[in-house]
Symmetry: C2
Subunit: 289 residues, 2 copies
Amino acid sequence: MSTQRIAIVGPGLLGGSIALALRGRPGFSTALWARRPEAVEELKAIAIAGYAATSLARVVRDADLIVLCTPIETMPALAREIVDAARPEAIVTDVGSVKAPVVAALGAIFRGRQRFVGSHPMAGSEQTGLRAARADLFRGAVCLVTPEAETDPAATATVGAFWETLGCSVRQLSPAAHDEAVALISHFPHLLAATLVNVVAGTSADAFAVCGPGFRDTTRVSGGAPDLWAGILAANAPAIHRALDATIAKLQEIGNILARDPTDPAIHAFLTQAKTHRDALRSPPSAHV
Amino acid sequence: MSTQRIAIVGPGLLGGSIALALRGRPGFSTALWARRPEAVEELKAIAIAGYAATSLARVVRDADLIVLCTPIETMPALAREIVDAARPEAIVTDVGSVKAPVVAALGAIFRGRQRFVGSHPMAGSEQTGLRAARADLFRGAVCLVTPEAETDPAATATVGAFWETLGCSVRQLSPAAHDEAVALISHFPHLLAATLVNVVAGTSADAFAVCGPGFRDTTRVSGGAPDLWAGILAANAPAIHRALDATIAKLQEIGNILARDPTDPAIHAFLTQAKTHRDALRSPPSAHV
């Protein structure tokens, strides 16, 4: 079995964790691109990848699989460089948290050249950057792979197998179905956590300061990078807005019951329903994966 | 220095954790009450306290400090038994999550007999019961102690010192201020997490099933016991409703911006504000304390 050559474009939390997960693993070689020369020096100093450079053309030239690990806004410009530099047999994927606009933009750029399949490994935390990278970041995480109708099934299979190598459990969804689902389970909950933090801190700084472990967990994601999340919210706004409207409607419904009769059994039933759903979620293998 | 005799009324997560924290500690003896004989047998089998019985009168008879660790609904009936059984010098506290109605009810029962001071140690998790009890549950947690204007300062000091012994950081608040603050940082966030779970699971079971670590943390508290939380929501409904209204208003505000222009810098500013507040929270010593 020959070595699979992986080019990782962007040395942040996800790109860095891919490199760490593959370091020293038989059957893989890695090349890692960073924009800034100082970043490349750091990558070389920690020997995180077989090759590291600021030249995107050199990093992707021999790759079998190219993984775009930058913020979604910067992906199209990088993809246009990759089209001319990479082998025609190369398969390209990305790790963006929004898929329909990314797949549309990158799919159009790679069409008739390399094969592109979108991915979204649902790992990570509120931390960002190489320093938060971990070799086991993907272990036990779900990775959503989002082929289009016309995507080559062999390319989809290669991308899926890659994420499984890193320990992910892989599911396929269309880009549109992905964005609708992830608005519900990630994008809107992020906005909701930020809203709760701003309401509580804005209402009572004293109360905010004495919060307990429950509040910390409920709001942990709001510590995420505003640049990254503003881009995500902008790219998936309609689906996020639908989740927001549904949540406001449900809050008003339960608020009306609470105002009318706080001992109404409907409140107990509402809490029981939530607990039943929540208890059914399988436990993650560790707190941050 | 003489031994301080602690009576713990109720062997659940909090009562059990107090007993475990004091087990073998010089200067303390413990007696633990449980309603059911089988529960007392279990307490004896694990030797969690110096004495365990179903007779409340026997458990509290010699106590210096009596800690009520049952659901708030059952506290008044237990308090009426304690009044006649305990020494007049005894100090009584409780661990209820709502303070104004509890302090009003128990304060009236103990007035002119034992001295009562309310407490709320903000420790615990979505788990309940003796099996979740831990000797270090209170270490690093905030405990809010809620004297009334007429409460004997010596009793307040004794209760505060007791929680400090267990590792808590103690703050004083009036019962009304406590309920307003805790509605914001605990009671409403619990209802919000339950709402998010019910919205997401009700909209897309498929999406719910693939959620990542962020969603799990955001909704962890909704796994709490419905009996306990329905009681808390009922006992503090007006303050919870104020937090709910403020959150709906803020969600509508950010939703309107998102609908009008998803790239509006106000969204980035909103996320930055939330991150700044959230980053300012001191880290807890462990994930569940």
